[in-house]
């Protein structure tokens, strides 16, 4: 296999894998802390059971997130050495700040997970707060590195070692950063919430109609509803930024081959890059101009303004974008449905098999949206690794053996996934053998 293709696949696969654990690593601590808050306030054992169960899951997920994150930060150099030689001085500061956030998270997670018996209950709860905050901070900070790759400001000034260079401006004053940071961080909460809701809905569907399941579902869907309401707002705002700074990406997302005034919004459709047409799409007249520019007659730049060698992969960007939007809308719909029924009939709501089955069906939607969203961002940036400045083909490593490392990475991550699923099933199906049980008994006695 061609080294560039192998390197791209390896990066994509490593990132997609890490993202799952990174997202759960942002979302699960929040749910865990919410459950513990419930326990401390209401002294209802249901909350304690959930807190402990989720804490155990967080411990395992965090370890996988941490090692796969270490892999990524080294892969930046191993796969794209020339990119790091140029971009290191610019995006390194973002990683430096993220490292501190990650450090704080690792430290307090250690204290939280192992500190049940060593700390007063309230102090123990307090040590969970830095975990929640630092995991969100890691996510917010590290996206500034990606925002810079999309919109590389200040590179020339930096290389000239000009004294006017400000990293606050380069990384956090970047118009891409605030929306991207918010959109991708909130998506972590949405993805986690729907997975958790789906797991407990599955239990309910299989006869586990108890308070543990009901409470877990409710907690997850509080987070799920809030997150899925925010997502379309930040998503729309992100598209506006892309329209302004990366028109080729927006055109690929919408498969807009020809620059148009009063452009239509396409729903679905199969783009054909050869003859530059889209078949079977639902067209909503003027909608794209309204969404991208706020004016029904505004001109939206199409792919015809760009040489084909700087086009991103149009079908992949287009399909990913459509899937992301659809998944986002479905999540919002399911969350609203749940809360409408719940408000009316409380726990009776869960007697509705249709609702519970929909929740089960919605399990992967958050992760589908998260992964396809990143495909839009990253594939839409192609062929650039630093937008407009360096092509990925210029950045790839000359070292031999990228195909071997690609196969190894896929193999290793598959082994981990299989083992993890086995372990998580073990922990949830017959929760806790031996040591942990006695520990939670001791805590109950202590409290």
């Amino acid at each position: 296999m061609d080294a560039l293709l192998a390197a791209r696949l390896q990066m994509a696969f490593s990132l997609a894998f890490h993202m799952i654990f990174a997202a759960l690593g942002v979302g699960m601590p929040l749910l865990m802390l919410l459950a513990q808050t419930g326990w401390l306030r209401k002294h209802d054992e249901v909350y304690l059971i959930l807190t402990k169960r989720w804490a155990r899951v967080v411990g395992i997920l965090f370890a996988i997130g941490a090692v796969s994150g270490t892999v990524l930060s080294l892969e930046l150099g191993l796969l794209w050495p020339k990119f790091m030689a140029v971009a290191g001085s610019a995006i390194g500061p973002a990683f430096t700040l993220e490292a501190f956030a990650f450090f704080v998270e690792a430290i307090f997670l250690g204290i939280y997970l192992y500190g049940w018996q060593r700390l007063q209950p309230r102090v123990h709860w307090l040590t969970g707060i830095p975990v929640v905050l630092a995991s969100a901070a890691s996510s917010l900070l590290v996206t500034s590195a990606n925002a810079w790759m999309q919109h590389p400001t200040g590179l020339a000034d930096l290389q000239a070692a000009s004294s006017s260079v400000s990293f606050a401006g380069m990384l956090f004053g970047n118009p891409y950063w605030p929306l991207m940071a918010l959109h991708s961080t909130v998506s972590c909460y949405a993805a986690t919430a729907f997975v958790v809701a789906g797991v407990y809905a599955w239990g309910i569907l299989h006869g586990k109609r108890d308070q543990v399941h009901y409470t877990a579902l409710r907690l997850a869907l509080v987070v799920g509803l809030i997150a899925s309401v925010i997502m379309p707002v930040t998503g729309h705002a992100s598209a506006l930024v892309a329209a302004k700074y990366q028109p080729a990406k927006l055109a690929a997302m919408e498969s807009l081959f020809v620059t148009e005034k009063g452009a239509s919004l396409l729903i679905g459709g199969i783009p054909n890059t050869e003859n530059r047409t889209v078949r079977y799409a639902i067209r909503i007249p003027w909608a794209l101009s309204i969404l991208a520019k706020g004016d029904p007659n505004a001109e939206v730049i199409g792919l015809n303004r760009f040489a084909t060698d700087v086009w991103p992969n149009v079908p992949l960007t287009h399909y990913s974008f459509q899937i992301m939007v659809a998944a986002g809308m479905l999540m919002l719909g399911v969350a609203l449905w749940f809360w409408l029924v719940w408000r009316r009939s409380g726990e009776q709501a869960l007697l509705s098999t249709a609702l519970v089955k929909s929740l089960v069906a919605a399990t992967p939607l958050g992760f589908i949206a998260l992964e396809t969203g990143w495909i839009v961002t990253e594939v839409g940036r192609q062929p650039w690794i630093i937008y407009g400045q360096m092509r990925i083909s210029q950045a790839v490593t000359p070292a031999l053996g990228v195909t071997t490392t690609l196969i190894s990475v896929i193999g290793i991550y598959l082994i981990l996934t299989v083992s993890l699923v086995w372990l998580l099933r073990r922990l949830t199906v017959n929760p806790v053998a031996g040591a942990d049980d006695s520990r939670s008994d001791q805590i109950k006695k202590a409290i």
């Binding site: 270490t70 150099g77 191993l78 050495p81 390194g92 500061p93 490292a99 990650f102 204290i111």
Partner: protein, 334 residues
Amino acid sequence: MSLAEQVALWMSAGLTLYAILGGADLGGGVWDLLSSGPRSAEQRKAVSHAMGPVWEANHVWLLFCFIILFTAFPVVFQTLSIALFAPLNVVLAAIVFRGAAFAFRHPLAADVQGYRQWSCVFGVSSVVVLLGLGAALGAISTGGIRFTDGHISAVPTASWLSPSALGLGLLTLVSCSFLTAVFMTMETTGELRLDFQRRAVYALLAQALVVVAMLPLLAYTAPALWNRLVAGYARYPAFLAGLMMVAAFVLLQRQQFSWARAAAVLQNSAMLWSILAAQWPYLIFPDLTLANAASPAPTLRFILLALPLGMLVLVPSLLFLFYTFKRPALLTEQ
């Protein structure tokens, strides 16, 4: 002192902390693998227990060093990524397996199917990480990597697979195992403590053997490094390391474990410092130096501002972590 030199000092401090904290964790894997005798299960349990709350944080130091490296000296990161492509990938795979294995086996009871397999993975991958990182350091300091006119190449006779690089890998392995065994004497009591005392002494003797074998090897195969080790500032930490080796041996025999721990920490740090001092001012001998590989000044100034500010958060958090889990009063409860 130049900005690049200041950053290099921070990085050396980060490396020292990784060598001590991360090194002791990795050594934990070695003793897990080598657990034996009537208290084999207890030895494993004690290692797990000591590592549990701290191992994640201990490993962030490696990431911390890599991030400073690619921020402040991006060309060096590029060069290492290309020249050490194979060993770095192997180390990465081992880091992944090690972290996963430790996390996966933790919720399992020791007699359950799966625990033993994951323990084995944990132990073997710990050994691989230690050997790999040590050998990579060996290739860097013995002149095995060249950067000429933007072209990166590896010198076949001084690669990470050369005798002196592998020797450094072996030295890393035994040194970290020694450190862990000494640490474990402070985490255990009774018979178990004597087990680890014995292991510490064996590891120390192994370390002495490797050092003795390495001396002529380095003098012969890497004369440049050798001259800097024995003639420059590097000889002071090297001398300190030797002194601390003897001190640790005596203190272990006299069962003064707390002092032995201090000597072991100082000994391992001093060994690293002697190599770092012999490197100075080279990042990759002989082509890349602190001066010619540094990022533009604004980046260096940013790091030099961010690091102390970050430490204001990090140091109290770390102290709280170690205070919570390594208090002497609690250790005697076990």
